[in-house]
Subunit: 210 residues, 2 copies
């Protein structure tokens, strides 16, 4: 709506980090009214305004409602205010509800970029079917259980050589602990090779054995 520095704006392009495509698809309007004209529901992002009787939602719930409305075929918009002054009263009055990011009231509020980032993050969090997390295996695959079995057996054998499992009564318990440790690591094949090498090197140094 009525960009302060004109449009298109080469500085905006430069700051878009490759997302110029998003900027090119922006439409420019002389006023908030025409920008919102085809929307069925408008959320205004603003700090709490005591002078208005209006629903106030957290970003999480606002995005939830927006997604329900979009799924029902409605057009939903989010209004963000300009950097310094924020949305003016007329813009907020035009909106159907307010989105307010909870911030510590002692420490001021969010700037425009922060507000856009958080609402976009919520939108992404709720729409992208992302895995909860994953486990990245660098260069190769996880070792097979048998390979880890061999590693543990070799290690136990060498530790037996040096009398590590003492007293004998605790031997079984100590081996289980060792095994738990190695299984928890989700070792790759490369890890297993490395640990074989370490075990061999250490026992050669200490005992002079092969």
């Amino acid at each position: 709506v009525n960009p302060r520095d004109g449009w298109p704006n080469s500085r905006a392009d430069a700051m878009a980090s490759g997302a110029g495509r998003v900027l090119s698809s922006a439409s420019i309007h002389p006023a908030t009214g025409s920008a919102c004209a085809d929307l069925n529901y408008v959320f205004a992002t603003t700090a709490r305004n005591r002078a208005l009787t209006k629903r106030i939602l957290m970003p999480e719930q606002a995005v939830q409602e927006a997604l329900s409305m979009v799924a029902a075929g409605e057009k939903v918009g989010f209004l963000f205010g300009p950097e310094r002054a924020g949305l003016d009263k007329e813009d907020v009055a035009r909106a159907n509800a307010i989105v307010s990011v909870p911030v510590n009231p002692a420490f001021g509020s969010l700037n425009l970029a922060q507000c856009v980032l958080l609402v976009s993050y919520e939108w992404g969090r709720q729409t992208l079917q992302l895995p909860v997390g994953d486990f990245h295996i660098a260069g190769g695959r996880l070792a097979e259980t048998g390979e880890v079995d061999d590693l543990i057996a070799r290690l136990v054998q060498r530790l037996d050589h040096v009398g590590f499992f003492y007293p004998e009564a605790k031997r079984r318990h100590m081996i289980i602990n060792l095994e738990n440790l190695f299984r928890r690591l989700a070792l790759t094949r490369t890890d297993v090779q490395t640990l074989h090498g370490i075990t061999r090197a250490l026992s050669e140094k200490i005992k002079g054995t092969k």
Copy 2:
């Protein structure tokens, strides 16, 4: 860790928007190792790194796990990288897991401030017992049901005067629609006064009645 521009830093204070208290409680360390020394679990915030075998979590799940560990008495830390270069390999290797914010890979990544904001937002979202939203009543209270009854009755009376409810067979249905509309608005007492005034003014203009 080893701040580039020294510490304390008056420019940092100026940019803290009143949150100088947070800065004063920061501790300074010569290296990442000593900064993390007393932590039990460390999350590194970084873009996906192909050279490491490590758990990768979304912010939502990382904060969830961190909160569980904190509840169990563990000390949990988040490592954020410096602005340009990000965390180096040694720092990431030190971490127990990686937090990666899902961004469109075509458009680059987040800067330091954005990353801190999103992780903090997740922390706040999951820890603050915030209401889902609320309904702010400006200057006054919601009208009582009886006051809205009176408003609707008066309006129906005036509409009857001008023959609005036509045909008679539809009268009941039209009144129910009107009532639904007014009840949905959650009118304040001031709203009710305003609507009485409007109703009166319109019917005086049209009919010359009082």
